[in-house]
Symmetry: C2
Subunit: 507 residues, 2 copies
């Protein structure tokens, strides 16, 4: 599935246009990307824009935004958001939004992440030592884009890391994120104590050169925070967090990512890779939510946001994790307060621990709520979370749960235009336009097949009832009859009735 | 699957006891009911309690509670809730809780619905003209109980209404609710205008005599409210609501359920059937949420709550529907305010219209949020909502989504003991006790099968990693190593480090 394009000046911006049977149409945001080239990979749509910027020493979107420059990327993202390009520029300049766009990722179709914009969804893919295939990962990428992933993280920890990442990047119209400490650890054969900043910077440079758009960096896991985790029910559940924590304790030294943060910034600034400041101490159990360890790290991340911005590096901040519903909003509030409204990017949060097999649902609840509070991007959780590696169907189920959560957040935030699709679908529902209901649904095939399961006949697609109530009890059909009655003069009577106090027959 | 029993004095109260591999055990609330008798149906556990009350003219739990009497039903429900029986009595007396228990439903295992107690879930079953079988409905009942339904509504609109209901009641350990206007309409062959109060009261008496525990009565759909719905995107979406609205308009008279509300109360009081005051004007689209029509009806329901309570009839109030997330809490607030904290019982709410096929997920978000605000019972929504009749698998998916939502609400409300299961599961997770994780999960079979999908070997059930990270990257395993390091003396150093200001290596 490839997207349609809208031509706006020199920009061909992707969208999905749905033509309804009543002659109306509606345009939806689309992430599926253009068709793959015959020689493989996607067309390098950004190549010319990037080429024109070769003289600039710090070619980050943040740097341009601060100069007052509206880049092509900003214009492109603004068209997708349905807003002015100036809004995108000013939000980036303010640090409330990022536009992850490595200058070595020309295939990218630019998008913007920030609380003033549509709530985004990230899908995780990646192999492990237990299961690995490059083709599988590219397939998972394309599949997650088909279901609306706004960014994709390659969390591979298995073999062929560089080759897998290269294949993903050349096929990705969306920003790709990684956790470079994984590759660093592979290079020292899993011996955490051997990790050091020079090795790490080498990994960053190589991945940046491939085109990775954002790096998760666990620089907030400070030595002093580690004792705060020892009485937790689930300790440290972030892989990156646990690696850095072990390194800190073994050497009894401060986290080298924190110590050498400025050198890390230099690499990211040179390529315009964005930071995703990792929450290595995020809670992995309801019992551990919003605890001292988590909040101490968040304060450190706030400090790092300032340092990164000073170096013109775009920065977002990662958040939890497992959080009971009454503590979810507090996470967004503290992130805004301590991290100066840098885009917040949360994993879920999962609002209970008892739902393995259904953690996409349990976490979509927390995700919708924190999204409605301004969380800029939601990292999806699949049904396999805590249990195994997601397969294709898991990716789809996770994406759908999260597109629902993100859209719920957009409706709650009052994002301009967000309700158009709901209204179009509800009007189709009220008018018994079944085909339009399916077309507007988040998963048209499933909606249609569920309808067919009870009423398979093609005639039922125009029936003025569904199998839930049958013809006699269809409330919508009754409402239509009611309107007819009302139009025959009852409306005036009813109106008069209200005006006279609604008491004529009342008591 | 039948429940274990705890003997407390003369009461054998159902529970599900989970024995963990570390020697601990945990008791969970259980609704599966006792084994079916050889002659069919469930044992009439309440028969003796009821028999002793034959002299009382208004034998409702509300009447007893107001006299200061703690009934066996209240004691039974209190044990399930893990609270004092006096708390159950006082909440019922205050009208903040109901204990639906028709004196003709001796098979009932009593439970209590109210904001001070665990959040409950209702499952809807019932045939339609399109699809009908008595055995199927009893099977759906048992199946929904197996997944934790706290009450079940029989919404049948097809043939054999009385026989289907009888079979359901004789097999139900949970309260059964109905919408009697459906049967009334069947008796006049679907001709809405022929409905009248005498026919309706006949239906009520017959259903009450069978043992129905609560009736949805759409007495709040007043003639004056109907014009308020005409500009809605989705009009009236409640079947009962649309039937009454049509009746009102055709006769241009006030709703006969409203006019004769006191006569209806008499029937309910005589059997101790509880009211579920229907929200016939609930919004069926995001665009229609919290509108004048909905709120006008809610105010009327508040008036009816007072009238019902005066007549010792236990009463809960139904709520929406389709509501965007930012308006969800307002529904609970207004229901509390206008309906004097009568238990609120909502359908979802669905927080977006665009998810047909996934409305169980979309509505579980709204359900969790309103539950956390004190909504007493959540009416489940299945994946087939808006599309077709739920099959067995849909009932399961709907139930699981709603058990997650209700448990999320209990955690957020700080319901005593609610977090025990989360903590037990998270401890099992941290200690790699895979079998215990499965046993504690909301759906053990699915959790186990997802784990097996990547690591099928039995040995993997004790492996100190899972397939998500593999052995090298397992954060939990790293945390265990970290604890070992810490125990070898690093802990003291780290502590000292914090005490000296955490700056030794910091800058």
């Amino acid at each position: 599935m490839t997207a349609s394009r809208v031509l706006v000046g020199d920009l061909a911006v992707p969208c999905r246009e749905i033509h309804l049977t009543n002659g109306e149409s509606i345009r939806l945001y689309d992430t599926a990307g253009p068709a793959i080239l015959p020689e493989g990979g996607l067309p390098p749509g950004r190549a010319q824009w990037i080429a024109r910027r070769t003289g600039d020493r710090t070619p980050t979107q943040l740097w341009y935004a601060r100069q007052g420059v509206v880049t092509e990327e900003m214009r492109f993202a603004a068209i997708r958001e349905g807003c002015e390009a100036e809004k995108v520029r000013s939000e980036i300049a303010r640090g409330r939004a990022i536009l992850p766009a490595n200058r070595c990722h020309p295939e990218l179709e630019p998008m913007v992440i920030g609380k003033a914009f549509l709530c985004k969804v990230n899908a995780n893919i990646g192999n492990s030592r237990v299961k690995a295939s490059i083709a599988d990962e590219v397939e998972k990428l394309t599949w997650s884009l088909r279901w609306g992933a706004d960014t994709v993280m390659d969390l591979s920890t298995g073999p062929d890391l560089a080759e897998t990442r290269e294949a993903i990047l050349r096929h990705s119209p969306v920003p790709i994120g990684t956790v470079p400490i994984y590759e660093a650890l592979e290079r020292v054969n899993g011996r955490v104590e051997k990790l050091n900043i020079d090795l790490y910077l080498d990994v960053l440079r190589e991945q940046a050169e491939q085109g990775v758009d954002y790096f998760t960096v666990h620089a907030g896991v400070r030595l002093a925070h580690i004792p705060l985790t020892t009485r937790r029910v689930c300790g440290i559940v972030s892989r990156g967090g646990s690696i850095l924590a072990k390194w800190c304790l073994v050497h009894h030294r401060e986290n080298f990512l924190y110590e050498h943060f400025d050198r890390i910034c230099e690499v990211l600034a040179a390529y315009d890779v964005s930071f995703s400041l990792g929450d290595g101490l995020r809670p992995g159990a309801i019992a551990d939510a919003n605890d001292e360890a988590q909040l101490a790290e968040l304060r450190t991340l706030g400090e790092l946001v300032v340092r990164a911005r000073e170096r013109n590096v775009q920065t977002m901040v990662e958040g939890p994790g497992h959080v009971p519903l009454h503590l979810v909003a507090e996470n967004q509030r503290l992130a805004d307060l301590w991290c100066d409204e840098a885009p917040f990017y949360t994993l879920g949060p999962l609002v209970t621990d008892i739902a393995p097999g259904y953690d996409h649902m349990a976490s979509a609840i927390g995700a919708a709520v924190i999204g409605s509070q301004g969380c800029a991007m939601l990292c999806y959780v699949t049904p396999k979370e805590h249990l195994g590696l997601p397969e294709k169907e898991d990716v789809k189920q996770g994406m759908i749960a999260y597109k629902i959560a993100a859209h719920t957040a957009d409706l709650a935030k009052g994002q301009p235009g967000a309700r158009d699709r709901d209204d179009a679908l509800s009007r189709a529902r009220f008018e018994f336009r079944w085909a339009d209901q399916f077309a507007l649904a988040i998963d048209p095939d499933t909606a249609r097949s569920y309808h067919d399961a009870t009423l398979p006949a093609e005639g039922a697609k125009s029936a003025h009832f569904c199998s839930m109530c049958g013809p006699r009890f269809c409330s919508m059909q009754l409402t239509h009859e009611l309107r007819e009655v009302a139009e025959k003069g009852m409306a005036d009577k009813a109106k008069e009735f209200v005006e006279t106090g609604a008491e004529i027959y009342g008591k």
